[in-house]
């Protein structure tokens, strides 16, 4: 997981460096913006994979730098999405600051061992251990999804919220009487301000604890 995170951090940083050099030479083309937009989900993923490591903050700071550079030079790409009557925040930079993940709950009906392809009840191989160079994994062949919980640390690092609705009333209050839902383009200014840090609202919650959500 950490190796994946480091690779993502390096990849996102390379894209950031390429875009920064272009901007410094006066290039504000769509190709340049594309580099920054491409770096955003990669660096968000780097944060997910580097959680609880010293490199997490490095990935966080790099993502903030990408966000600021994009917002300062390519504002049109920082508009909130309008869909089905409401605005949505889908920017990886903004979403990455809320450290919440998704964890499914399921009834395991049937599975097989990746090493011997028997039912794990019938073999001696242990998930996560390596046999003749091959890591044993459990292949789930039949399961019943029973719920999803909001957790601080999902097993799949990138199992995250991809879109957050923005209450229209709050936008109207902020933007004044000229605000017309759907017609008004709403730009996110988050990256123009200094970062307040990440929030961790689900550190103490999860399956069977407060804030679990049944589907």
């Amino acid at each position: 997981m950490r190796v994946d995170g480091q690779e993502r951090l390096q990849s996102g940083s390379r894209l950031f460096g390429q875009a920064l050099r272009r901007i410094q030479t006066g290039d504000t083309s769509s190709d340049c913006e594309a580099l920054l937009r491409e770096a955003m989900p990669i660096l968000r993923s780097a944060m997910n994979h580097l959680e609880d490591t010293p490199l997490f903050e490095k990935a966080h700071q790099r993502l903030d730098q990408v966000g600021r550079l994009a917002r300062e030079n390519f504002r049109s790409g920082c508009a909130l999405t309008y869909d089905k009557g409401s605005y949505h925040q889908q920017c990886p930079v903004s979403l990455a600051h809320n450290r919440v993940g998704l964890s499914i709950e399921y009834i395991l009906r049937a599975s097989e061992c990746s090493i011997c392809h028997q039912d794990p009840d019938d073999c001696t191989h242990i998930t996560g251990r390596t046999y003749d160079g091959e890591e044993c994994i459990q292949i789930i062949t039949d399961a019943e999804l029973t719920g999803t919980a909001l957790v601080g640390r999902p097993a799949f690092a990138d199992a995250r919220i991809e879109s957050v609705g923005m209450p229209t009333d709050e936008l109207r209050e902020t933007l004044g009487p000229k605000f017309s839902p759907g017609d008004t383009t709403v730009y996110c200014d988050r990256c123009l301000s200094n970062c307040d840090g990440v929030t961790r609202p689900f550190e103490e919650s999860g399956h069977g604890r407060a804030a679990g959500v049944e589907l």
Binding site: D52, G101, S103, I104, E105, Y106, I107, L108, P120, D121, T124, H125, I126, T127, G128, R129, T130, Y131, D132, Q138, I140, A143, T146, A149, V151, R153, P154, A155, F156, A159, G206, H207, G208, R209
Partner: protein
Amino acid sequence: MPHLLTVIPGVPGQVGLLVDNRVPYPESTRDFVKSAKQAGFDIEYAEPRDERRYVGFKALEDWLPVIVVAKELLIGVESGLLVELLKAYLSPAEARLDHEENAAAEIDATEVPTEVHSPGGALLHVDWRVRDGDKESQFLADGDPESVIRALAQFEQSIRDES
């Protein structure tokens, strides 16, 4: 002779959870039992295979199976038994050194020990019980592996001190 350790249905912290009107086991159970057996522990399920149901959660946490051990059996064997049982799951190579003779026949020769870690994640959920006739002492813990091991060692020592 009764088995030293018995895995009973239940998921730590998930009271009232039922599957097909049965109390389920956490997904980690089979790996936990295998690692314990390979490390030389005498451990068995309370229910036959066709009556067991399993549930899984995809948080970076690890719900261990609920285990019952008789006090008279616990204090009759070497100290730190429960701690070694947990280490067998978390750190297969380390635990195997202590139980190598007993376990030699069951270890797969092709298996390469991996680093010390919690297979399911950073946070452990444990519900283990020591029975003494009608009386039961319960070890409940939610925390990182090192903290849980420390607390488990204290729990085990308190059981020994009672006797």
